[in-house]
């Protein structure tokens, strides 16, 4: 365990035995590590399900005290270009490992955020340095990882934590921190966490900073305050015909919540089916949404394209097919 007052770190498991959930994956990776030889690994699954934690456990088991010298962690969603692969990754990969394990480990978190070019570069790097370096990649969707990279890895699919798992983790933390938690608060934490363990613990700590006696009402209040303004507000303005406000809200959402255009378009695509409009119009809007998403990938201005999509929602609000 790491000494820290940030609970997600303080209570991050450092041994296979401490992990909650994902039992099948734990069992298999453990046996790989015991053989002191791992292949390249690809961890696919939603946020907060233990991908980074398992990667850390693996390197700690492999390298013991010298794990820090033999381990490089990069987050691809912050550094997603080809330069990262060409420089940081290659520089680290080409030098020999210290200690009796013949390789080093690079953990590339959120690898699905890497650009196509960067993934191409990664593929070559994985091959060329396979003697000195092993890769653990994590991603939300394995489909966004190039096929040749997938084929070089053993893939593990992480599932959202179940309610009993989240509750078990909350119980452990609460016990260590001396918190009293009402039984409905367990439900509330699970609901708000949506199976994301990181979110569950953050929520618990944020609430505990207000009171050591925790009930569902408090959890819900704190969860709501940290919840971003939804894209729905933007769409509702547009459907009501108030384009200017819809556009202003959109910019607010994107700036204040630091949400990329790509995330906005995904949220819109999902939200269309909850809107009070005719199904045939929903299909039309979906088509437009897909076109806009494609254009963004192609390199268009996100905000301009989203505005043009919003304009279609104004007509949809009047029951007209776009």
């Amino acid at each position: 365990m790491v000494h820290s007052e940030i609970w997600t770190e303080k209570y991050r498991p450092s041994k296979f035995e401490d992990l909650v959930g994902q039992q099948e994956i734990v069992r298999r990776t453990k046996s790989l590590v015991q053989a002191l030889n791992i292949p390249h690994l690809l961890f696919a699954g939603p946020a907060g399900t233990g991908k980074s934690t398992l990667a850390l456990i693996i390197v700690k088991e492999l390298f013991g005290d010298s794990w820090k010298e033999n381990y490089l962690e990069l987050n691809a969603s912050d550094e997603r270009g080809i330069d990262v692969i060409r420089q940081k990754v290659k520089d680290f990969a080409r030098t020999k490992a210290i200690k009796d394990v013949p390789f080093k480990v690079i953990f590339l978190d959120e690898a699905d955020a890497l650009t196509r070019e960067a993934q191409q570069a990664l593929r070559r790097t994985m091959e060329n340095f396979t003697n000195t370096c092993r890769f653990i990649l994590s991603c939300n969707y394995s489909s966004r990882i190039l096929e040749p990279i997938q084929s070089r890895c053993v893939i593990f699919r992480f599932k959202l934590l179940e309610k009993k798992d989240i509750s078990e983790i909350v119980r452990r933390v609460a016990k260590a921190e001396g918190l009293t938690i009402s039984s409905d608060a367990y439900d509330a934490i699970y609901e708000a966490s949506e199976g994301d363990c990181r979110r569950a613990i953050n929520l618990l700590q944020a609430t505990a900073s207000v009171s050591l006696d925790i009930n569902a009402e408090m959890i819900n209040m704190i969860a709501a305050s940290g919840k971003p303004i939804g894209i729905r507000v933007v769409l509702d303005y547009a459907l009501a015909g108030d384009f200017i406000n819809a556009r202003n809200k959109l910019l607010d959402v994107m700036l204040k919540e630091s949400i990329s255009g790509n995330d906005v378009i995904k949220a819109i695509q999902k939200e269309i089916w909850n809107l009070p409009i005719e199904p045939d119009i929903k299909v039309k809007l979906t088509e437009k949404t897909g076109e806009v998403e494609f254009r963004m990938i192609e390199g268009s201005d996100e905000f301009v394209q989203l505005q043009s999509l919003l304009a279609s929602f104004v007509l949809a609000g009047q029951g007209k097919v776009v």
Binding site: N202, A223, S258, Q307
Partner: protein
Amino acid sequence: MYENLVEKYRAKSYSELIGQDKAIAEVQQFLKEFPKKKALILHGPAGTGKTSLAWAAAIENNSEVLELNASDLRNRAKLEQIVRPASIQKSLFKQSKIILMDEADGITGTDIGGIPELERIIEITRFPIIMTCNDVWQSKLAPLRSKSKLVEMKSLDTIKITEILRRIAEKENINRDINFFTKIAIKSQGDLRAAINDLQSYANEENLFVDTSEKRDVEENIFIILRKLFKERNDFLDLFDSTKMSLDEIFLWIEENIPNEYKNEALVKAYYALGKADVFRGRVYQNQSWRFLVYQNIFQSAGISYAKPSPTYGFTKYEAPKRVLKIWLHNQKTAKKKTIAKKYAKFVHCSVKRIMRDFDLLKPIMNNPEVQKQLNFSEDEIEFLKSQN
């Protein structure tokens, strides 16, 4: 003796200024209400009578004029030395005084500190300050804009210019038929000064052919461009050639103002065109294929103009693009948030993006003194976190 007709016939009273009744009324009101607003900016295309109006106002109010124009050095020291005392001391000979800062957009890089000093003079002046410029929306004029009353001078139409030319010709014994005057008027594109100069230079030529396609390079201001684009229905393929503003900058102006002008189907069509313009712009940049600029231009001009079923009339107030500024302001504000998120993210094995997104939820945790110590937060960052509550 050669005498310049432009100077000879420069308007010396309000009544001699043709076609600018609205601007005259606003200047009169400004002088009457002074010092409610201390400065006024007359803006509009060349040759619409900005300088003439300022002088006419001085004459009508029996005021002395202190004029500085682009030919004068207008840096901080110079303004401090000449304009500042003049803005406080009484006029020696006349009842009052007007300070005329002609061609204010000509205060350039070499006039170091000129604009800020002008701002300070506006604060302390006891006399009205009138400034003139072509494009009042340049960023360097922003500080003056906020302290001044803005009065727009519109280009004169061909009929009015023709009429003025005819009158001057009469007095100067230039005998030409009405067609001659009309041709010059069309060629001038609303610039009266250019028209009078042409009248003078062509007056003595026996057989004159005025080529109406040969136009002076006028710098159209963005508002005129937007008005044409949004009100009229036309191909407008060359519309943007008349401004020095880049296609991308014009793009932002159009983007900002579409919803001010179009509703419903027209709104959708206009954004469709703008979206396409943007797609081609992206291709220009990504592949360095400049050929695609043609498509961007067409969608951005004809595409926007034809988005409406028929021409529209009436006044629309166009606004300067706000998005870029908003993003910039936001970035200033979140710069600190980001440095905090970076430190936190590295420690908890998580992306900066996700921390930024969950920032509100994490605030109570980041406000824990132990955590702040462990993550090495600076004083500033700790202050920022406190102020966020």
